[in-house]
């Protein structure tokens, strides 16, 4: 037996079971789930009428309203004006939040004064339900866009502060020592080492802020009226026009996605060296 040639011995064969979900492309999985959800939705509303149309409209009705709102938007009618108002609110809110949040983040992350004296107040304010400040902003700034911008910025500032400060702590002891040994000034160490090292953190904060700024802007428009998309949604809701509400929310989410993916795109351009999530990516 020991003299048996190698060819008579069998190879070790592994039977690997690949999960079904790993074998289908992502878009197919997404589409499949979408079809299933819409089918159940259709069954529950249009076919079997388990749910009242005022609570949940059928997919057909929603689709009809999606077309209607889409036409209105493309035609540049009053809905586009509303969307534009909300877009401006979101834009300014995000810009202000980024500016203030980044500055405060550097203050907290870089100076002892910021860390010891400023940070506790920021934490205290951050734990408050920030939406509760909306009536104050309306009282101070009126029913126009300014009060909504303020609320949106207020909500979005804190994640940027925290992530910027955390980012500035991210540089390793070795890197700090290297800069010290090269005789770098504090400003040089901040600009050439700590900020670039902290960029991934900062962008994480910006992504959270992008979500927060949307919530702030729409909440502001719910509570303070005005000409934005939020006011439009509230109006339709008060008329029990649920399909319209659904359609409006879907279009609104496009604005949120646009902001979010703009941040992601900028991050890809700036943090080109952080390739860990791109397998085998070179250049």
């Amino acid at each position: 037996m020991t003299d048996a040639p190698d060819t008579q011995k069998e190879d070790t064969v592994w039977v690997e079971h690949e999960a079904l979900i790993d074998r289908i492309p992502r878009w197919v999985a997404m589409l499949g789930l979408f079809v299933i959800v819409v089918a159940i939705w259709d069954l529950a509303t249009a076919r079997m009428a388990w749910v009242s149309p005022i609570i949940l409209p059928s997919p057909g009705e929603t689709f009809f309203d999606l077309i209607f709102v889409g036409k209105n938007l493309i035609g540049g009618e009053y809905m586009l004006v509303a969307l534009w108002t909300t877009t401006k609110t979101v834009f300014w809110g995000f810009l202000i939040a980024t500016t203030i949040g980044f500055s405060l983040g550097v203050l907290v992350g870089e100076t002892k004064f910021g860390e010891r004296a400023v940070m506790p107040y920021l934490v205290a304010i951050d734990t408050m339900p920030k939406v509760a400040f909306a009536p104050l902003f309306i009282a101070w700034l009126g029913f126009d866009i300014a009060s909504k911008v303020a609320l949106a910025a207020f909500i979005a500032t804190f994640p940027i502060v925290v992530s910027t400060a955390a980012g500035l702590y991210a540089a390793s002891e070795n890197e700090r020592m290297l800069f010290k040994a090269m005789g770098a000034t504090r400003l040089q160490t901040l600009v050439r080492l700590k900020l670039p090292t902290g960029l991934p953190h900062i962008f994480t904060g910006l992504k959270i802020a992008a979500v927060g700024v949307m919530a702030g802007a729409i909440t502001g428009e719910f509570l303070g009226g005005g000409k934005g998309f939020g006011a439009l949604i509230r109006q339709s809701a008060s008329q029990m026009d649920t399909p319209r509400v659904f359609a409006l929310i879907l279009y609104l989410s496009l604005l949120g996605l646009l902001l979010y993916f703009t941040v992601v795109w900028v991050q890809r351009r700036f943090v080109f060296w952080n390739k860990s999530e791109r397998p085998g990516g070179v250049g």
Binding site: S172, N174, L178, G183
Partner: protein
């Protein structure tokens, strides 16, 4: 990747007996935990000399190196380099750590120019670029100048960090376990590279290492430290001829020296 062939060595000049670094009665107590890291350390480095420090973990080797480089203030004692007291980081001191610590958003050559950029600005760094390219060529990284550090192997990254240390033409090199993260073959190669670089520049070098073989093959003298409190307990002169070659590792003399140091370190080396 292709490693550059080590160039033939010109026999290194016998170290002149001119003192470069003078350290007297040096003590360091960390205020935070009142830990006595060093007591009464005295040592002199001469021009062109290669000195290594060995000792168990936590005996204060890195602390000594940080004080010598001006990164950390001593509690007591004197540190003088080229006649001037060391009171902070200096251009004429080159440092290398266990980690290469290359900035991932800068290319290899930009990383090497970083000390110039920090000290003298972007224009000066741009002007020094040809010199950085020469250095890269010297360590066999000529083809990797414009590559980002994420694409370099550990050994290549450490070679780049050698270049970064050399770009400001330091008079002394302070090396804190520079090759301990590398595999043994790469490490041997790097040791020979280091010997060549030091010989060419007649550089004074001070190396902290945990590898007795590395210490013996590179050094003119080895200092043995013991912990609690950290102090130098023994000095061993290595009389192997220069230039040193890797073949020497297999000689009986080499084995004797390594064995002697191992005995000196005793059990403490393993606590």
């Amino acid at each position: 990747m292709s490693m550059a062939e080590p160039r033939p060595l010109t026999p290194s000049p016998v170290a002149e007996r001119r003192p470069v670094y003078e350290i007297e009665r040096l003590s360091k107590t960390y205020a935070r935990n009142r830990l006595i890291a060093l007591t009464d350390v005295n040592l002199t480095l001469h021009k062109g000399e290669f000195v290594s420090v060995v000792g168990s973990s936590g005996c204060g080797k890195s602390t000594l190196l940080k004080i010598m480089s001006g990164l950390l203030p001593p509690t007591k004692g004197r540190v003088v380099l080229e006649g001037k007291p060391v009171t902070g980081p200096r251009v004429d001191i080159g440092m290398m750590f266990q980690q290469a610590t290359l900035l991932p958003w800068k290319t290899t050559v930009e990383n090497i120019l970083l000390p110039i950029e920090i000290r003298e600005g972007r224009a000066a760094a741009q002007a020094a670029r040809p010199r950085a390219m020469d250095l890269l060529q010297l360590v066999g990284l000529g083809d990797f100048a414009t590559v980002y550090p994420g694409e370099l192997s550990g050994g290549m990254a450490q070679r780049a960090s050698i270049c970064r240390m050399l770009i400001s033409d330091p008079a002394v090199l302070l090396l804190d376990e520079p090759f301990s993260a590398l595999d043994e073959l790469t490490r041997d190669f790097m040791n020979m590279e280091l010997q060549r670089i030091c010989a060419e520049r007649n550089a004074t070098a001070f190396l902290v290492t945990h590898s007795l073989a590395e210490a013996v093959i590179l050094s003119d003298r080895i200092l043995v430290m013991k912990p609690r409190p950290g102090r130098i307990v023994e000095e061993i002169v290595i009389d192997l001829p220069r230039p040193r070659t890797l073949e020497m590792i297999n000689t009986t003399r080499f084995g004797e020296i390594v064995g002697h140091i191992r005995d000196l370190l005793g059990k403490e080396a393993f606590v």
